[in-house]
Amino acid sequence: MLQISNLKKHFGGIKAVNNVSFEIQENKITALIGPNGSGKTTVFNLISGILKADSGRIIFNKEEITNKKVNEISNLGVSRLFQQARLFNNLTVKENLLLAINNEDTKFWKNLINYKFTDEDYKKINKIAEVVGIESFMNKQAGDLSFGQKRLVEIARAIINPHKLLILDEPVAGVNPKLRKEILLLLKKLKEKGEAILLIEHDMNFTLNIADNVIVMDEGKVIAEGNPKQIKNNKNVLEAYLGE
């Protein structure tokens, strides 16, 4: 459903993403791994339109999304989780989630005349809040949450945002082991429901446990691709990590 071909992005002399090509399939969890600075997050920023590619193409559901705007790409069905906390800190958890439901809320006249969220909207966010396990603090300010709680709210917001593909940048980084397990189960549950997920993760155990397909990057290039078993035994991958 997502095809990336010959993608390039340079920052000055640094080749952050250097001729990267790969493909993602539906109903699968694909993991993008690699040492620090290997260009994973840059690939994510290119997919979600935050950065403009120097060359190459990104095709999503047969539509070219290379260099489209961030909100356009989101509305075509790519939902993103950032590595750092990016909640709307002065809004409540509930408001954070409601914002992601649809874009009726950006229609000025409709809002001015009379527009309110429907019971269905509330049901939708409550259901996902339950799945993710955040229903106990729905009315708290997002800025007052703990790190782990913020992470969960962000995951919930990314799931609520209408999408066909979830791209998650280090969903469990800095999260305690108990929560890590919960997120692992949650992602598996989502996959069973038919979600396509692309994720970046440093934790090898976590990654190999969950991914159907693994893509390894080093110094801006894809150096290996395969199922977790193949990756575990790949010489290039070991070198890239040990040579770090």
Partner: protein, 289 residues
């Protein structure tokens, strides 16, 4: 005598409330540090004054004051949509100076530093608002309508979109919001209300000149917004009443008017500094810039 003075004060408070809640919409709710806010007041005041003097009915001049200011708000939103923080503040300040320079120098239209005297008092359907009491009622009605519209907007889901842009614009884009459009709407609506406040001001004072629309005039409005608390409309209204009234005490204490002008600015600037240091969220706000 006291009564007449009281009415005058209330009219000023009404005009300041519109100015301050519209700045709240842009700055408190959407996070747009617009130091060009006063420029819209000038645009509205001159539009309305010139049209009224050219014989147009008050209500058309009044609405066009809002619409033309809104149009300039739209123009300002296009080039500035990528700017944030310091840079946005400087660019909007530059806009304010450009507008001031035009008001001062386009003498064929604005009479430059001489200003425009003899602006007629408003009249509507044959009724003239020439007494201050009737003008107060007009101001109160317009202030109330402005408040209700802005209140409606910020409490609607659209208001949350604006707040999401203030808190994290990129995150707002990643959940699919067209933040360029939403910011433009916030600035346009904000400018519209400042424009009509400018019209009220022009027809109340009946004389305008460019010096009423310099960046210095922004200090009280900025102060009101910060004292009231960002993103708090009720706080803003309380702050307006208190802060517009306080310096009027100076008049009663018997300071000469040459002292009251600078003393008022000193007082405002001092309160602003103290609030920024000791109560950065203002009295009723929850949001920190």
């Amino acid at each position: 005598m006291i009564e007449a003075y009281f009415i005058h004060l209330l009219i000023l408070i009404g005009i300041y409330i519109i100015l301050a809640i519209s700045l709240q919409l842009a700055m408190g709710f959407t996070g747009l540090i617009n130091l060009g806010h006063i420029a819209f007041l000038g645009i509205g005041a001159y539009t309305s004054a010139l049209l009224a003097l050219a014989g147009w009915p008050f209500w058309i001049a009044f609405l066009l004051a809002g619409l033309i200011a809104a149009f300039f708000g739209f123009l300002l939103s296009i080039p500035t949509h990528k700017l944030k923080g310091d840079y946005l503040a400087l660019a909007t300040m530059g806009f304010s100076f450009v507008v001031y320079a035009i008001l001062l120098n386009w003498t064929e239209l604005t009479r430059g530093p001489l200003g425009i005297p003899g602006i007629p008092k408003p009249s509507l359907l044959g009724f003239s608002f020439s007494s201050n009491l009737s003008f107060l009622i007009l101001t109160a009605v317009i202030t109330l309508i402005s408040y209700l519209i802005i209140k409606r907007l910020v409490t609607s889901p659209f208001g949350k979109v604006l707040e999401s842009i203030r808190d994290d614009e990129l995150a707002s884009k990643t959940i699919g919001k067209n933040t360029f459009k939403s910011k433009a709407i916030a600035l346009v609506v904000s400018a519209f209300f400042v424009g009509i406040a400018g019209s009220l001001y022009a027809h109340y004072i009946t004389f305008i000149d460019p010096s009423s629309f310099t960046i210095i005039q922004l200090i009280p409005v900025l102060l009101i917004v910060i004292v009231g608390g960002l993103a708090s409309l009720e706080g803003t209204i309380i702050a307006t009443v208190v802060l517009v009234s306080i310096p009027e005490m100076l008049r009663f204490v018997g300071f000469p008017s040459s002292v009251i002008g600078p003393a008022r600015q000193i007082l405002y600037a001092l309160i602003l500094l103290l609030i920024l240091i000791f109560k950065p969220k203002g009295f009723y706000g929850k949001v920190k810039l």
